[in-house]
């Protein structure tokens, strides 16, 4: 029962003029705008919110701060949502989760009675023997495991990320954080203030800091006004800082956005987590932390009618009782674990209002009502500071129990930065030390609890931040707080158990002690064995109790025992936020529109989009065959703009290439190209291309589409060491490239208008030239990747479309056909040319893939040379071979395995049907003994069908290279201007346009 919502100043967050409704478990719940799902449910006296993870015990709110798993509920969109973080106004349908039957009558609650058969480490111990037993139980356990149900049909929402830059990041908008932010901003710093609550103020919004309850309100008003009005402070509310990373890199999520905060200094004003008292049935709905009750009253104005008992381990709980009395609640008793309050005025204030006090006493057991789902009474016993329990003092009927055993700093972010959390046995308090450079603490995370000290500490943190920024900081205030807030042993073991240490994982006192008895003395091992602290609350309410229990069980102090390490994230975060908005860069050549116009089917090639073939998808094979036929018998052209291009200029350019690539380049004549193979330091082939010498000190090198960035990076890296005199420029995007190939390619170029002698004598195979084609400046390379007479034309990229059009026009009489990447792959395979990355892998060295001819063994050094030499001296373990199959055989696919006596010896790397040869051809790694042409290799194809392929000599097509060389003649070295200085220039005049 509730008595309706309380009037102001209670219920600060609700708008009483705007009622809202939603359904919970099918039942309509009424509340107000500003209510959370929890506050609205409690407003209707609905306290059973969830079922516990292991025993399916009934659970209600504990912290109301989003710091525990007791309020996890299901919405249609997602499971495991914290009900105190769900606005009632925006959440029309809510249900419970993790039950069989209904939330009120969960059939799985039978497990609570079987607890003795589910000891700590149950899974590790129960399914270890006999071997294989796990597989039997796994299906049942997996069916029962988990809490909510993921909605696999839900549509993902738009999430993105944004960087935020500031001088000072203040995490926590309570009194300490507000003071720190204000002080730093007034000193000239740009401040970001982050708070996980919808309103600034922290404990000022609900907690009573003095007996009369008059300090918090004015302090909050003054600070909130000043902060929100300050132009130097950016406030993020409803935002969670989920980690601290080096150099104050802070992921902060708010709504659908993940902010990546870059701060110069960081003030942690994260507050502290109130600690529960551990006694039998301390998890019954109706038992909550004092701060939770204060939030319920002050934020939402919910006032339960049932009598309240306050269980105090400190003076703050007395103030909770006073607030409850102000709200009209019946305080049936205040039970103090200590001999009495430190502040006598608090005792007087309560006794004057007729509240019975029990000192040096504890709630030893909570009792449920007939339904078993709600607190009905508590049994109070005498106790000592060491946890021993004495006489039965009272049996008090109540529906509400508010407890506070003390506070533990919200130390997670500090620990992410390597800070050390220390416990001081003498005062049962904490301190954080060894903070990283630039991290500051303020407020109760710094173990200060009086309002005056907290505010002063916040201002001091602001000043310290200014000092670190080199700004005028002002004098530091003295901060002193002698208030002792933690009871040394708020743990009361009961013979019948059910005293919960960890609510998330349903761990009781005996579970923790048994972990120690089983030999897990280290707190980190206890965590992993028992799973304590591994639930959603991440040990906020269990770490201290666990440390105390392990300390006693192992005869150590708590400070010697320590607490478990806190790691990111602080709170569960949606994976969508981590993924953020998806960026998938797509590169298009300057001929992209031309390809689309011609009906190309575009396929990905790295981040590029390239034409696979031209024609309708259903006519793919016919289109590829048509294009291949055109190249073999007439002329075709392909957009090869995606090829990498690197310009190397300078007197040491040849020497540099000689060191980078496997071949020799020192004597490469100007006007000639040479195949360039790149190996890494392990001797593995990582890229290849063509190096064209355009001048004595100028090389233009091509690289593979996906490898050019790496090649460029490696070149820069090596020359950082070698310090050769040259300039290296990645000009990939500056040039487009078109390969015109086929017997009629020369004729097409001549028809397009070329100022170069294109004859076999004037422009032999492997030559390169710079000239004009169709009126455009072009670099021409006579290479033969597809095995025909061919010219690779490199042109400034914005001129590529003009060149393409000119070639298309010039090729009309020769039936010029554009061809795509798929056709090119077929043609090069016929010619036996490898593609690095497709026919090689992370282990392929030149000897395996038949590239020994591209190694210059006479030069003193090249990158990977030593490794290549060593590998060459060892027996081959596999070899890339060509193979053929008849057209009736199943066609192997790339990746299919090559077997020898049933063992895997290699795999297929390329395989196509060749219309030119009317056979299936391919490349595969095979055992070296099987590499001789005429032999046979076994390939396991789809469905395990093995085929015997014949090993063939490479190339499959035109083994004499007659077609690509076409009357090659030995040419004299062209006459090029002599260098005019060490930095060669052949410019007659500078041609800057400005």
């Amino acid at each position: 029962m509730t008595r309706g919502r309380l009037p102001a100043p209670f219920g600060q967050h609700i708008d009483r003029e705007r009622p809202v409704t939603f359904t919970f478990e099918g039942e309509t719940i009424s509340g107000y705008a500003g209510d959370t799902v929890v506050s609205a449910l409690l407003g209707e006296d609905r306290w059973l919110l969830s079922r516990s993870f292991k025993y399916h015990r009934p659970r209600g709110p504990l912290s109301l701060a989003g710091h525990d798993a007791n309020t996890l509920v299901q919405t249609p969109e997602a499971a495991n949502r914290l009900a105190e973080e769900l606005p009632a106004e925006d959440t029309p349908v809510v249900t419970g989760q993790n039950y069989w039957g209904s939330l009120d009558k969960d059939r799985f609650s039978l497990l609570d009675r079987l607890g003795r058969f589910l000891p700590v480490g149950f899974y590790y111990r129960a399914f270890f023997k006999p071997q294989g037993i796990w597989h039997f139980w796994e299906r049942f356990i997996r069916a029962a495991a988990g809490l909510g149900v993921a909605n696999l049909a839900v549509q993902p929402t738009y999430s993105d990320k944004q960087y935020l830059f500031c001088d000072v990041a203040v995490i926590g908008g309570g009194p300490a954080g507000l003071n720190a932010a204000l002080t730093a901003a007034e000193g000239g710093a740009q401040v970001l203030l982050v708070d996980e609550n919808p309103y600034l103020g922290g404990a000022l919004t609900y907690h009573r800091f003095d007996t009369a309850g008059t300090e918090a309100g004015p302090c909050l008003e003054q600070l909130r006004t000043a902060v929100t009005a300050h132009s130097g402070i950016r406030v993020l509310t409803d935002a969670t800082c989920n980690a601290w990373f080096s150099d104050h890199y802070l992921p902060v999520f708010q709504g659908q956005r993940l902010f990546k905060v870059r701060a110069r200094t960081c003030v942690l004003a994260t507050g502290s987590s109130e600690q529960p008292v551990v006694f039998r049935n301390n998890d019954l709905p109706g038992i909550l932390l004092c701060s939770a009750l204060e939030r319920l009253l002050m934020h939402h104005g919910v006032a339960p009618e049932q009598p309240l008992v306050v269980l105090a381990g400190n003076d703050a709980a007395y103030r909770t009782a006073l607030t409850a009395l102000d709200a009209g609640l019946t305080v049936a008793a205040l039970v103090d674990l200590r001999p009495g309050a430190n502040d006598p005025a608090l005792t007087s204030a309560l006794t004057e209002q007729g509240v019975p006090l029990y000192t040096q006493a504890t709630v030893y057991q909570a009792e449920a009502d007939a339904s078993g789902t709600r607190l009905a009474a508590v049994r109070v016993h005498a106790c000592s500071d060491e946890g021993t329990v004495g006489d039965d003092l009272a049996h008090i009927p109540c529906g509400l129990l508010a407890m506070s055993a003390g506070y533990m700093p919200a130390y997670q972010l500090a620990c992410h930065g390597g800070a050390q959390l220390s416990y001081h046995d003498d005062r049962a308090g904490f301190s954080l030390s060894n903070l990283p450079q630039g991290m500051l603490l303020a407020g109760s995370v710094n173990s200060l609890h009086s309002l005056e000290a907290v505010c002063a500490d916040g201002r001091n943190a602001g000043r310290a931040a200014l000092e670190q920024l080199g700004l005028d900081a002002g004098a530091v205030e003295a901060t002193e707080c002698s208030e002792r807030v933690n009871h040394p042993w708020p743990i009361f073991k009961h013979p019948k158990g059910r005293e919960f240490v960890d609510f998330d994982e349903d761990l009781q006192i005996k579970d923790i002690i048994n972990s120690a008895r089983l030999g897990y003395r280290d707190i980190q091992l206890v965590k992993r064995y028992s799973t304590v602290g591994m639930g959603p609350s991440q040990g906020r309410h269990s770490a201290l109790t666990t440390a105390r229990l392990i300390a006693r069980a192992t005869d150590r102090t708590v400070s010697d025992t320590g607490v478990t390490t806190a790691r990111p994230p602080v709170k569960p975060e949606p994976l969508g936020l981590i993924a953020g908005r998806r960026f998938h860069p797509i590169r298009r050549t300057s001929l992209h529109d031309r390809h689309l116009t011609l009906g190309a089917q575009m396929i990905p090639a790295g981040s590029w989009r390239r034409p696979g073939f031209y024609g309708r998808p259903e006519q793919r094979l016919a289109a590829i065959a048509r294009e291949a036929q055109a190249v073999r018998s007439g002329v075709g052209m392909i957009d090869v703009s995606t090829l990498g291009g690197i310009d190397l200029r300078g007197p040491d350019a040849a020497e540099f290439l000689n060191r980078i690539y496997t071949y020799g380049f020192l004597k490469l004549p100007v006007g000639r190209t040479r195949y360039a193979v790149l190996t890494n330091e392990q001797g593995v082939v990582v890229d290849d291309g063509v190096a064209a010498r355009l001048g004595e000190d100028h090389f233009y090198v091509t690289a593979t589409t996906t490898g050019v960035d790496r090649v460029y990076r490696d070149m820069l890296r090596w020359n950082t060491q070698w310090r050769l005199e040259l300039d290296i420029a990645n000009v990939t995007s500056a040039y487009a490239a078109i390969n015109v190939a086929g017997p009629n390619s020369r004729a097409v170029l001549e028809a397009a208008g070329c100022d170069l002698d294109l004859s076999a004598a004037g422009f032999p195979y492997l030559a390169c030239r710079e000239g004009q084609l169709a009126g455009l400046p072009v670099r021409l390379l006579r290479v033969g990747f597809v095995g025909e007479l061919g010219f690779e034309l490199h042109v400034p990229s914005l001129m590529a479309a003009t060149l393409w059009d000119s070639l298309m026009a010039a090729g009309e009489d020769y039936d010029l056909q554009p061809f795509g990447v798929e056709t090119q792959r077929l043609l090069r395979l016929e010619k036996g040319h490898i593609i690095v990355g497709q026919d090689t892998d992370g282990m392929s060295h030149p000897g395996e893939i038949g590239l020994n001819w591209a190694i210059n063994n006479k030069k003193p050094f090249f990158v990977g040379g030593r490794s290549v030499t060593i590998l060459a001296g060892q027996p081959l373990k596999r070899q890339l071979v060509g193979f053929t199959l008849g057209t009736g055989a199943p066609q192997p696919k790339e990746g299919h395995l090559v077997l020898r006596d049933g063992a895997i010896v290699g795999n297929v790397t390329s395989c196509e049907y060749s219309p030119t040869l009317d056979r299936i051809i391919g490349l595969a790694y095979a055992h070296p003994s099987d590499s001789e042409p005429g032999g046979s290799i076994t390939i396991r194809t789809d469905d395990g069908v093995c085929v015997a392929a014949e090993v063939a000599a490479l190339p499959f097509y035109d083994p004499d290279n007659a077609r690509q060389t076409l009357c090659a003649l030995k040419q004299p070295r062209p006459a090029w201007p002599a260098p005019c200085s060490r930095w060669h220039s052949r410019a007659a005049a500078t041609r800057l346009w400005f």
Binding site: Y163, S733, L798, M799, W983, H984, A987, T990, F994
Partner: protein
């Protein structure tokens, strides 16, 4: 030459809003090499610009230094040069860079441009950290970009230079990021 913005439904907002303009047709060129600064000096242009700075040369455009031996010459109000590029050296140790061909040029203006760019780029582009005249060579939406902060027509703008092949992708990413800032825009 097509604008990368052409196929995207984009309209500029008001004075307060962000505006993204395509300057791919504007003139730009580059010079690189150990003789690059001498070449600039011989043309009466400043060669003492520190790397990652951009200098306004009034009617001669902008000179952007990307290193001690690489300079880009930008003229937002001039059409791209019709002169055909030549890969030969411009002077001893100074070679041309085909900026016109290699990089698209987009220009972003509007007060919240730094906040918008923070959705795409990890460099602080706020006035305090990235004042007028600064250049950043960094990443934007997972692709390389050169960002220059300079005045254009009495307004502080960011010039963004991205790989020509990524122009449409980059423009799309920018316009998507701009949507929350431009009430009257997209």
């Amino acid at each position: 030459m097509a604008s990368p913005l052409q196929s995207l439904a984009f309209e500029g907002g008001g004075n307060e809003a962000l505006v993204l303009r395509d300057f791919r047709l504007a003139r730009r060129a580059g010079v690189r090499g150990p003789g690059a600064s001498d070449l600039l000096t011989s043309h009466g242009l400043p060669a003492d610009i520190a790397p990652n700075r951009i200098s306004d040369q009034s009617d001669r455009g902008l000179v952007m230094a990307l290193s001690q031996r690489e300079f880009w010459l930008l003229h937002p109000d001039a059409a791209a040069s019709s002169q055909q590029p030549d890969s030969a050296a411009l002077a001893a140790g100074a070679w041309p860079l085909y900026c016109q061909h290699s990089h698209a040029w987009l220009m972003l203006s509007g007060e919240p441009k730094a906040a918008m760019m923070a959705k795409l780029c990890g460099v602080d582009l706020g006035d305090g950290a990235f004042p007028l005249g600064q250049v950043a060579q960094t990443q934007m939406a997972h692709v390389s970009v050169v960002i220059a902060h300079h005045d254009y027509q009495n307004e502080a703008v960011f010039s963004l230079f991205v790989d020509q092949s990524l122009a449409e992708y980059a423009a799309g990413a920018l316009i998507d990021a701009m949507s929350e800032f431009n009430q009257s825009g997209i």
